[in-house]
């Protein structure tokens, strides 16, 4: 990784996106004090990740990529033991674990072996594990990878409930997940921070911040600034300025052509930044 500089405020979700090998996991592992950086510096609440790691660890929790709930343990045992690693007594840990599982509607599975749970339930156990702790900064490295849509939505609601009182660093391959959940997004490309900011900030990086999808295969712009792409499914996608949206929509309504208007998605922004503006330049 190189040339990565950013700072974050307390609370909310910061999502790191990027291709495989872009450096997301490396960055998260350095920040969560699991990996020693070879050079450079990083600090959390003014504490250096190299020299003051033990102080940082008082306040962080992490679910690493490919972390698995120990199969021979139950969710209750998983959470209890993790809280004990954080220094809680056994009785307190067990009480908090039960309470967390109850709050998350997972009390039915608390005594089942982790190996008997579904993939989504296993991930929920891991997220519940760190959710039960007092940590204010939480690192989640691709927690939803490989899960079906409903399981991901369940995790999303857990993340949303967490972000009110904590800061979450979330890496993901699902751009819609980052767009849906993140307050701030960092886009890594080839080890560099290619873009950073809120969705609003990222849209400002685009030449055309609005997208209109039109149900007409041969639609063309007439004297309106923008770019037209004829999609294979018969739709036409128009990228344009906010000021032009009104004119385009006004031209579509009399012709009774169906359309949708939205700000450009993170997918489009990502493609533009990472792949050099194929669709929106």
């Amino acid at each position: 990784m190189r040339e990565i500089t950013f700072s974050l405020n307390h609370n909310g979700i910061f999502s790191l996106i990027g291709e495989n090998g872009a450096g997301k996991t490396t960055l998260v592992r350095i920040l969560s004090t699991q990996l020693m950086p070879t050079s450079g510096s990083a600090s959390i609440d003014g504490l250096d990740v190299v020299t003051q790691a033990s102080q940082i660890r008082e306040n962080i929790a992490a679910v690493p990529q490919e972390a698995r709930a120990v199969p021979w343990m139950t969710p209750l045992q998983t959470i209890t033991s993790y809280l004990m690693y954080r220094g809680y007594t056994h009785s307190d840990s067990r009480a908090i674990a039960r309470d967390t599982l109850r709050k998350l509607g997972m009390e039915r599975i608390e005594e089942q072996k982790n190996r008997n749970l579904s993939g989504g339930q296993k991930r929920k156990v891991l997220v519940a594990t760190i959710l039960s702790s007092e940590a204010e900064l939480i690192f989640l490295d691709e927690p939803s990878t490989g899960l079906d849509y409903l399981s991901r939505k369940e995790l999303w609601s857990m993340f949303t409930s967490m972000k009110k009182e904590r800061s979450i660093v979330l890496t993901t391959h699902y751009l819609e997940e980052a767009e849906e959940l993140a307050d701030t997004i960092g886009m890594l490309f080839q080890g560099k921070l290619a873009a950073f900011g809120t969705m609003h900030d990222l849209r400002k990086l685009m030449k055309y911040p609005y997208s209109i999808k039109v149900s007409a295969p041969d639609f063309e712009l007439n004297n309106i600034a923008g770019k037209v792409i004829h999609l294979p499914d018969g739709l036409t996608q128009i990228f344009t300025f906010e000021t032009e949206v009104f004119d385009i929509v006004n031209s579509l309504i009399p012709k009774k052509i169906n359309f949708t208007v939205q700000e450009v998605s993170l997918n489009t922004i990502f493609e533009n930044i990472v792949y050099g503006g194929k669709n929106n330049d």
Partner: protein, 247 residues
């Protein structure tokens, strides 16, 4: 909040032994079998004459295998479960984690140790001082094995590599050296090779306490010095060279 170091240590005992014992009781039979099978073979092969030596040796072996078995457990929890990474990003330090994991191995082998202690009471007849020396001897060799196990677990990248380490360590440290039999059974040119293994010193000290072998005062002193020195060196390596945090 007040963090309890005892809880952090107890967490490892729960994860690595108590929960596993409760959920997989068959593991208890597994830990019993290794020392008892060699004990049986040596006893039968010697027509019972080496039973006392082997019973004492089985205690030494149990401590070594408990320590080196920690390598496999740690490696599994680190590489397959990623549990160690979760612990690294928590207030638990490597000291508490390793002490907890080491104690978990002792807890795991409590049934084995109990059975072997009964064997030793019945067949070895140690004095109180001798029993105390044997206890210190076992503690030293266990500390060595734990240090070695922790060091190897932190540098192993997957469970296959860990199995390879275990496969090498078990015969070198416990089966081949004169742990279950007197060192005098090894022909002289090869006897010196036995002194490569720290378990030879531990076994010699234990056997001399029971009167199975005779050590001069100087030899006893030397063996203790060597055993402690090896333990300290490996303990130091484990503390300083192990990778708690990846590089």
């Amino acid at each position: 909040m007040i963090r309890h170091r005892g809880s952090q240590i107890y967490a490892s005992i729960l994860v690595n032994s108590l929960y596993a014992m409760v959920n997989y009781p068959i593991m208890l039979i597994n830990t019993l079998l290794a020392p008892l099978s060699i004990l049986a073979v040596v006893t039968f092969a010697s027509h019972g004459t080496l039973l006392p030596v082997a019973a004492e040796g089985a205690l030494i072996m149990n401590m070594v295998t408990s320590g080196t078995a920690m390598q496999g457990d740690l490696s599994h929890l680190k590489n397959d479960m990623r549990l160690q990474d979760m612990v690294v990003s928590s207030p638990t330090g490597p000291g508490s984690y390793v002490v907890g994991m080491a104690l978990s191995q002792i807890v795991y082998s409590v049934p084995t140790i109990s059975l072997l202690i009964i064997f030793n009471i019945l067949f070895v007849h140690l004095s109180v001082v001798g029993a105390f020396v044997l206890f210190l001897d076992m503690a030293a060799i266990f500390t060595f094995a734990v240090s070695l196990g922790f060091f190897l677990s932190t540098i192993s990248t997957d469970i296959i590599q860990t199995w390879a380490f275990s496969g090498i360590l078990a015969p070198i440290l416990t089966t081949i050296p004169p742990v279950y039999y007197p060192i005098s059974y090894i022909p002289l040119p090869y006897r010196y090779l036995a002194y490569i293994s720290p378990t030879t010193y531990a076994a010699q000290i234990a056997q001399s306490q029971a009167g199975f072998t005779v050590l001069t005062l100087t030899q006893t002193f030397e063996y203790w010095i060597i055993l402690i020195a090896i333990t300290v060196v490996f303990g130091y390596i484990a503390l300083k060279r192990s990778r708690w945090r990846d590089v």
